[in-house]
Assembly symmetry: C2
Homo-oligomer: 648 residues x 2
């Protein structure tokens, strides 16, 4: 078996984003989000904890938070050089490298606090997870700066891991309790060419869930009763059965999606069709049966993860920001592996909605969970009481509004690294082919049979479906342009403009329009996707969403907020099917967004309240409503939000 | 201050229920429910644990389960003598009495397992709660059999409690962590005339929540940190502030309602208007802002209790059967205290709905929680998975279908004692007045100025609103009959039939029709309450119920079940307002019930399923639906249930 791939991504370093949607977000990410992460990491001790003299609290997953911030910083540096940021990053990287033990080991907690527990509790203690994030950071640092110091250190650590884990005598036949290192080791393999890192990733993946169960053995060796596992089931970390046998996405969603990404990496690198089939099954489970319309995944707060097919409640949900980022990773890998547009469709759904809702427009506040419905108690103090205990109702504020940081703060740096690396998701190549996976105003360059071709995309996407791509080959050359036909798009038109009458062959394949011709400098494609306001309905298998409608336009899912709609109780509103919905660009609102307006019915609109129950229906008023992009909610006056509105 | 009361109940021993609704339920209770409780108590060790030689598990609240079963048994005995039941009861009562310590103390757990912990943890350990239930059982035994042995034993225990607790030197200034003894001591006062028991009840009530907080002191004495209280707040047991200052119903609902009942008892016995005002406030909080349409209370599973005003979710709720029973107690006391019909309205709401749904029609299975919506996974195995951990989704079966018993099995014997004592809720008297609080076919006798009057009620209530009450006074005499005008009833008619043309004065007062005349043998009232099918709406303050409608006819709330309506996903159904609803008696269904039928819209009725999200609304079919009384749900093929249906 060899490499199996349909498409190779054009890396973010070769793509310059120039549009009015993503470019400002990337700039906010660089100027606000990455510094905000740094500040929080510094204030909480996360940056100092690598130093032996540091006296404060330490935590066994802190390394990962810092690593993700470094990774984001390096991506950002590569896009736009920033001397101050580089200095900060290099200082922290030096401290991390200095922490490395003689044998290569690195983890601030297990070096300074519990050295005797090294590798003793893979199930719970995130050592390999942190190692994975440090490796990803080192690879990003290497690509961004060309410097090998961090990469070399992480190779030494990876070598220790390769020596420590495996089926051999004296090796530990274990695997991480929180997946992440698998995909990181494949990145390290790409950066170094050392196949042992790929082999180690594949070992971790295939060893997972084998019997006798490693976590049982490990717990007994620690003196713990494996039956008293706090999460109750190894489904929590997808270790309940060998990964190739897994059919349904279960358990903690971030763990799951990092693992699926690693599986897809291994399937690609080894051409393993059985593993690829498992990836496809699991992707369908996640994206076709368990994904929110916003691209969020994992409804349950109790496991921060999956519950069951078509179970998509909207309130008090997890839908963790990290899970969205991890799902983007998985979708991208599946897209490259298969060349099928449905993977890019899901990726786009996440990117323009739950992937972006995790950070405020000012770049400094974050959602850990991304609710699809909230009822804000702050705005309705009357009668407000906290529940006596437990989290049956999550009215702790955390679920309702973005925060600067969290105790477990995995999400803020994860969002930062996603946005910083956005340019890497737009284009791909294969033989004589340019793939346009996302529609983002940008410039890039690729090669066709040794001929360099510059491509420039101009578009007001996601607010407008018109995309113009202009090519500037060094000299005329034939190649195919594959343009994704988004799942949301029901009609589109294509024009190829050229001064020359070369024959153009248009076809379609796996959800992409294919446009093949001999291209010359200045030839351009005008691809226009009609972008009407759409009412979206969930299948009736989603019982929570019966009788409800969501509003979508292009890839952007909309929501209604209190601030635009005069009531905290957004359940009062019902959208009659008979009224039209209208898209209106508002350049001054929320950084410039298309809003959707129309008429809505409001229960008990201004009427006197009666008793708790009555025999008369509430009176109904008709009002104008305004919907804004879901990703931009909770950036103005606090209030409630609703995505799935009652329909009449 | 003296006794303050508007009405005195006619006790259950003086009322014979003869109708086709309650009489068969009381017989099922006697023949099935009480024996089922006995069997479960016996099999779990609850009956044997009073004996010193018993070697099995014991629990500090088991005494209460047995006591409630005894109480139910005694009520039942009083209504219909049953030799076998009497023998069983006497044997267990003997064992209980034999357990009594020299100083009067009684509790199987603290006698045999942890004697050193007696009275050391009032907050958590239910000693006074168990004492209360044993007292109630002993009083019931005394009334039912005339025997004083159990009563005397409980007086000795109550005397010990009076000696132990109080403000005096060497006394414990504490009060129960689970209220119950307060109302029991008032019963003991009534049975014995010993005012010290009333005083003790009043002490417990007024000492509650005083500063410095007794539970803090007690915890410190035990060596515990009061701040580490598992329930986090003394609101849980309504001890967060003195009861007279409490404005909102908070915390564990059974604790709350037992306490409010005890408060109403003390207010009545002492004429304390401040305490009465507190009772009224708390009743309004419970019944006018936090009560389900079924009469259930306490939505939250995390505290088995209250959350906040107008917070009435329908799924994964607590709405504990015990809380319904306790709320019946409180409503009855408020009715007697004030003479206002709203208290009886709420009592009736509970009795015909959540108070009865707790037990299966065959009398042998019980709900702990009474859901208003379920989606039964058993009936939809495809894609079914249990959540990884926690109780975010309560799909453990317990919430979905009745069970024979529970680990914490407070509810089954509580339902049994309620049904056995039902005759005691129908009538009340005051000077020259008979109050008809409930409409139940029955016979009773009361006195007017020394003249005995027999009254016979004939009715097919709750299926028909016609009630005929015939009087047979020993000799003609003038009195007032007060007929409740139920809150659900919008029009009614009244006829007085007599061979004699005595003047009849009809008026109304506090929600009762008053009918005053000179009554002679055979005179009768025909009171006809129009009973159309009603669509009921919740106030828009209940955000969960926007756009939803419930069906009610008379006091009976209806539900739709899968078994009658062809789908597990009852959210697929929507009730268009334009279609009529029709009541149809079905004598063979569920023991004979009026069903409601009509037309309903069904989303995606028989259509091919599409993907998770789509731009087309589901196709809609029109079908006939059938609704059955809520209390009778889950007595046929397992499936889902819905009370609040989407309305169109």
């Amino acid at each position: 078996m060899g490499i199996s791939t349909k498409q190779t991504g054009i890396p973010f370093t070769k793509v310059k984003v120039t549009d009015k949607f993503w470019a400002p977000k990337m700039e906010t990410n660089r100027l606000k989000t990455i510094p905000a992460n740094e500040k929080q990491c510094r204030e909480t001790g996360r940056l100092d904890c690598f130093k032996p003299e540091y006296k404060g609290e330490r935590h066994y997953f802190w390394d990962s938070d810092v690593a993700k911030w470094i990774e984001a910083g390096c991506y950002s540096l590569a896009v736009k050089y920033d001397k101050k940021l580089e200095k900060t990053l290099e200082d922290v990287i030096s401290d991390i490298i200095a922490m490395q033990q003689e044998d290569g080991y690195m983890n601030n907690y297990f070096i300074y606090v519990k050295p005797e527990m090294r590798w003793k509790n893979l199930r719970d203690c995130h050592e390999l997870y942190c190692a994975g994030h440090l490796i990803e950071a080192a690879v990003a640092h290497f690509y961004a700066t060309g410097r090998r110091n961090f990469l070399d250190a992480m190779c030494r650590y990876a070598d220790l891991i390769c020596k420590t884990f495996g089926p051999g005598k004296g090796q530990i036949p274990g695997y991480p309790g929180h997946q992440e290192i698998e995909l990181a080791l494949v990145k390290l393999y790409h950066a170094t060419g050392e196949k042992r890192y790929l082999d180690m990733a594949c070992y971790f993946i295939d060893q997972r869930g084998q019997q006798p169960h490693y976590y049982d053995k490990e717990a007994i060796e620690r003196g713990d009763d494996p039956k008293k596992f706090w999460a109750k089931t190894y489904e929590y970390m997808q270790a309940h059965q060998p990964v190739r046998e897994q059919k349904d996405a279960v358990g903690h969603s971030v763990r799951a999606l990092y693992m699926y990404s690693g599986m897809a990496d291994c399937a690609k690198e080894t051409g393993d069709k059985e593993l690829e089939a498992a990836c496809k099954r699991l992707w369908e489970s996640v994206c076709e049966r368990q994904m929110y319309i916003t691209g969020g995944i994992g409804p349950s707060l109790s496991n921060e993860g999956f519950v069951k097919d078509y179970m998509l409640p909207v309130e008090n949900i997890s839908s963790e920001s990290c899970a969205s980022v991890a799902a983007i990773f998985f979708c991208q890998r599946m897209l490259y592996l298969t060349g099928e547009s449905k993977y890019a469709d899901a990726m786009e759904r996440i990117m323009y909605n739950s992937g972006l809702s995790g950070v405020s427009l000012d770049g400094e506040k974050f959602f850990y969970s991304n609710q699809l419905y909230t009822y804000d108690p702050e705005a309705d103090k009357k009668g407000e009481k906290q529940p006596a205990s437990g989290k049956h109702y999550q009215w702790d504020g955390a679920a309702l509004h973005r925060q600067g940081w969290y105790g477990c703060s995995c999400c803020p740096p994860n969002i930062a690294r996603f946005i910083a690396s956005l340019p890497g998701y737009i284009y791909g190549t294969s033989e004589n082919t340019l793939w346009v996976n996302l529609f983002v105003g940008s410039e890039t360059e690729f090669e066709v049979n040794g001929i360099k071709v510059k491509a420039q995309t101009k578009t007001k996407y996601p607010w407008n479906g018109k995309v113009t791509i202009t090519f500037k080959p060094e000299k005329e050359c034939e190649f195919t342009v594959k343009l994704r036909m988004p799942q949301w798009c029901e009609s589109s038109s294509l024009k190829v403009k050229s001064k020359f009458k070369d024959n153009t062959v248009v076809g379609d394949e796996d959800g992409y329009l294919t446009v093949t011709r001999k291209w010359r400098k200045g030839d351009h494609i005008i691809y226009t996707m009609d972008m009407p306001v759409q009412r979206v309905y969930a299948t009736t298998k989603v019982r929570e969403l019966e009788g409800r409608v969501a509003i979508q336009r292009g890839p952007v899912v909309y929501c209604l907020e209190t601030v635009d709609n005069c009531t905290n109780n957004l359940e009062k509103l019902a959208l009659p099917r008979k009224y039209n919905l209208r898209a209106v660009m508002n350049k001054t609102l929320l950084g410039g967004v298309v809003t959707i307006i129309g008429k809505v019915e409001v229960n008990n609109d201004g009427a006197e309240e009666e008793g708790l129950y009555q025999n008369r229906p509430p009176n109904v008023g008709i009002r104008q409503f305004k919907a804004v992009p879901y990703y931009a909610w909770d950036n103005r006056a606090p209030g409630s939000v609703i995505v799935w509105i009652r329909e009449k």
